[in-house]
Amino acid sequence: MKKLGLIVNPIAGMGGRVGLKGTNGTDVVARALELGAKPVSPARAVKALRVLKKSGAKFELITYPAEMGESEATEVGFKARVIGDITPKRTTADDTKRAAKEMLELGVDLILVAGGDGTICDLIEVIGARVPVLGIPAGVKMHSAVFANAPKATGEVVARFLSEGLPLREAEVMDIDEEAYRQNRLSAKLKGFVKVPYEPTMVQATKEGSTGYELADQKAIARWVFELMEKGRTYILGPGTTTRAVAEELGVYDSTLLGVDIIRDYKMIAKDVGEEQILRAIEGKPATIIVSPIGGQGFVLGRGNQQISPKVVEKVGKENILVIATPQKLSSTPTLKVDTGDAKLDELFRGYIKVITGYRQSRMVKIV
């Protein structure tokens, strides 16, 4: 029988309604409570669990005490195995981390977590990509690609994962700097990657030549990008697993997953570079930017790859940007966005662009 871990971050999402843009940090939680914030994630977790209960899927539910999962599971009628120890009403990020670690040790097949970007970041700090994760959207910020569209949809995906098994895809974990966000600056960071089960209702993907498996599709894309590469041209390789596949196709196995690398003549010439280094590398030479949309919201530029700045984009030229994305990823972000920080430049990108989705295959996708 499959084992499902359930973690509810009871304070996630509390800042949203009271305009606090997140609840990372204990003093913020106190402030939120003062402002009259009510917990949101337990109710959302219950919604997801109801769907799961109704599906009749058979599995063992492992969770943390009280409001971190036990109460929600009991409310829906699950008999869960409760592990760990917490101080109710005073949970912190450490509780989330401990829960994740213990569930990893118990060999759960999937961790279902109700929270936001912050909760997911805490989680992957401990478990990395070793256990698949699925998020019940319950936070203020949900830039990570690990959340299903709604609590009910989360329940459906989990039910199918447990009863029939579903393929996994890699998803970005993002977090934004809350302090900056509170001052109306959006600064999103790519924190890492987790494996997420996804429902391949995407016959679409198959019809377009997708294998249905993200890794294979990444390889297909990488092969095609490799064939398109020219000697003497400088390639600026953005962050992500799809771009990493391109590096691997070149025989470069130490590319920077969360940063920008520079490739020339099929070799990596600079690693994890900033804006200045990029500008120096492309000075007076033909260059191409290779990027993959970041996060669940489809940002091509400006999220997680700020090194590729407006200056860099202008130097390289809009026509020399190769956007690559697997059909799986596009199915979660049907339109794309840019936020370079230069409104005029962003405007230039609006409309349809060609995104490479497979070997010799691309798709027109709208940047909105």
Binding site: K54, S55, K152, T201, M202, V203, Q204, T206, K207, E208, G209, G351, Y352, I353, K354, T357, R360, Q361, S362, R363, M364, V365, K366
Partner: protein, 501 residues
């Protein structure tokens, strides 16, 4: 209607295979009318052991009768399989194709002894040319996808002859899956354009997609949502402007027959599915026929041989002298038996009859669309402002949200009502798609029966979802593991025996 399929089984096992029924020394045979006086088969080609099943005639008759009773086809009942045009196949066409003069000839026979067969192919070509509004037709391809592939080879030959590098083929996201494959097989890069909110090609995306690299756009019209691409002239202009060709996927020709012609819309290459629009039987992998038609500028690239008529000598002949031809794509000249049936069908219907086909097919699908449109559980995702053409695509998403049953469950439950499933999960741009094509050969009573079944199933989904989840129960075989069947097919007795070991 109360439906229960026959189930012939012994000890829980279905009717055994013909090889398993075999017992040594049992025989039954029919001799050919004329036994050749002398047979010259080289010794090395003669096998001494044949491994054929040994059965008596009544055993063979019963075996296949039982299998047929556990089968379902257009002769058993309604078959609304979208984009497949499962219309009734007139029996007279079968009779004609079975005539000795059609079925017992050989492609290596001297042209003078098969003048009738050549004349039939020549005239069928001419009819198809007129129907599609093109300059010339080639009957060789033996399936729709084969026709598509030939279309792509012609596209390549055309651009090559002009010394231009056009290496991209544009395909809408609602296209038949074969389009992507045909283009890729012919060596093109594939660019997908999305549909707009009206379910048609997004012109803005198309205009951004076309470039000097564009070799062709492959388009189905009416498209797989059953909607007519009403901006087809603008689409054609955008593609032609950059030197690209327009390819017509003929799977949905039943929606426009005699009303408009691909050639008039600006298409350069057209394929026909004779086994759909022209009522030759299909399913189970063939034999089919997917002729293609081309405009004047592409004629010289067509495969060899073509069937020509020598007016002076009043004689039909095969012409191999075509220096710019792409060569051969099939041995000989096409699936002749299928061509005979399609030719007979066209003559049976005549010009006005073919127009009526489309009128009735479109009327039938609109009748279904309007009757099911407001049923709680089904919805139409795209344009409902005007009529649909030959088919209509519903989404069972409301059922999935409300009752947790899927389009697939609805399709399986329909089998229990004695109705073949619609095409489901296609086109992929419609979630929980149920693609329904009634065709023109169904009566109003039959359509009403289908509509009633769909309504009942929508009710059952809410009151007794388990009826859908466990369907079908009235058929000889219950729900199959379709993924396993596709991934691990056992296609022959030899494979079966090997796996059993």
């Amino acid at each position: 209607m109360n439906y229960r399929q026959a189930r012939w089984a012994d000890d829980g096992r279905l009717e055994p295979l013909v090889f398993e029924l075999s017992k040594a020394k049992r025989t039954g045979y029919t001799l050919p009318p004329k036994v050749p006086s002398e047979v010259n088969i080289p010794n090395k080609l003669i096998r001494t052991e044949l491994e054929l099943p040994e059965l008596s005639e009544p055993e063979v008759v019963r075996h296949y009768t039982r299998l047929s009773q556990m089968n379902y086809g257009i002769d058993s009942g309604f078959y609304p399989l979208g984009s497949c045009t499962m219309k009734y196949n007139p029996k007279i066409c079968e009779d004609l194709a079975a005539l000795e003069t059609a079925s017992c000839i050989h492609p290596y026979q001297d042209e003078d002894t098969v003048q009738g067969a050549l004349e039939l192919m020549y005239k069928l070509e001419q009819h198809l040319t007129e129907i599609a509004g093109v300059a010339r037709v080639c009957l060789h391809p033996s399936a729709g996808a084969h026709g598509e592939f030939l279309g792509m080879l012609l596209t390549r030959a055309y651009h090559k002859s002009r010394g231009k590098e056009h290496n991209e083929v544009i395909v809408p996201d609602s296209a038949h899956g074969t389009n992507f494959a045909s283009a890729a097989m012919a060596g093109f890069n594939v660019v997908v354009v999305p549909s707009n909110s009206r379910g048609r090609v997004d012109l803005e995306a198309l205009r951004k997609a076309v470039s000097k690299r564009t070799a062709a756009l492959m388009l189905t019209n009416p498209n797989t949502l059953g909607l007519f691409e009403d901006e087809i002239l603008k689409i054609a202009e955008a593609v032609h402007k950059v030197g690209g060709l327009l390819y017509y996927d003929g799977a949905n020709l039943n929606g426009i027959l005699g009303k408009t012609r691909p050639g008039d819309m600006g298409f350069d290459i057209v394929h026909f599915n004779l086994h759909k629009t022209f009522s030759t039987p299909h399913g189970g992998g063939g034999p089919g026929a997917g002729p293609i038609g081309v405009t004047r500028k592409l004629e010289k690239f067509l495969p060899v041989p073509t069937v020509e008529y020598d007016r002076k000598r009043r004689r039909y002949y095969l012409d191999y002298r075509r220096p710019q031809s792409v060569g051969k794509i099939k041995s000989f000249y096409g699936n002749f038996g299928v061509l005979v049936k399609a030719y007979a069908y066209i003559l049976l219907m005549g010009e006005s009859g073919l127009q009526e086909v489309t009128e009735a097919a479109v009327l039938n699908s609109n009748y279904i669309m309007r009757k099911l449109q407001d049923v709680d559980g089904f919805e139409i995702k795209f344009d409902t402002s005007g009529p649909c053409k030959h088919e209509v695509v519903f989404s069972a998403e409301p059922l999935k949200r409300g009752a947790g049953v899927t389009a697939k469950d609805v399709a399986k439950r329909l089998l229990d009502y004695g109705i073949h499933a619609p095409t489901y999960y296609f086109p992929p741009i419609v979630p929980e798609a149920l693609m329904i094509e009634p065709t023109e050969t169904e009566t109003k009573e039959e359509l009403d029966r289908f509509i009633a079944a769909m309504k009942e199933i929508a009710d059952e989904a809410k009151s007794h979802p388990e009826k859908l989840l466990s369907a079908p129960t009235a058929t000889a075989i219950g729900r199959l593991d379709e993924a396993k069947a596709s991934r691990e097919p056992i296609l022959s007795w030899k494979m079966y025996r090997k796996l059993a070991k």
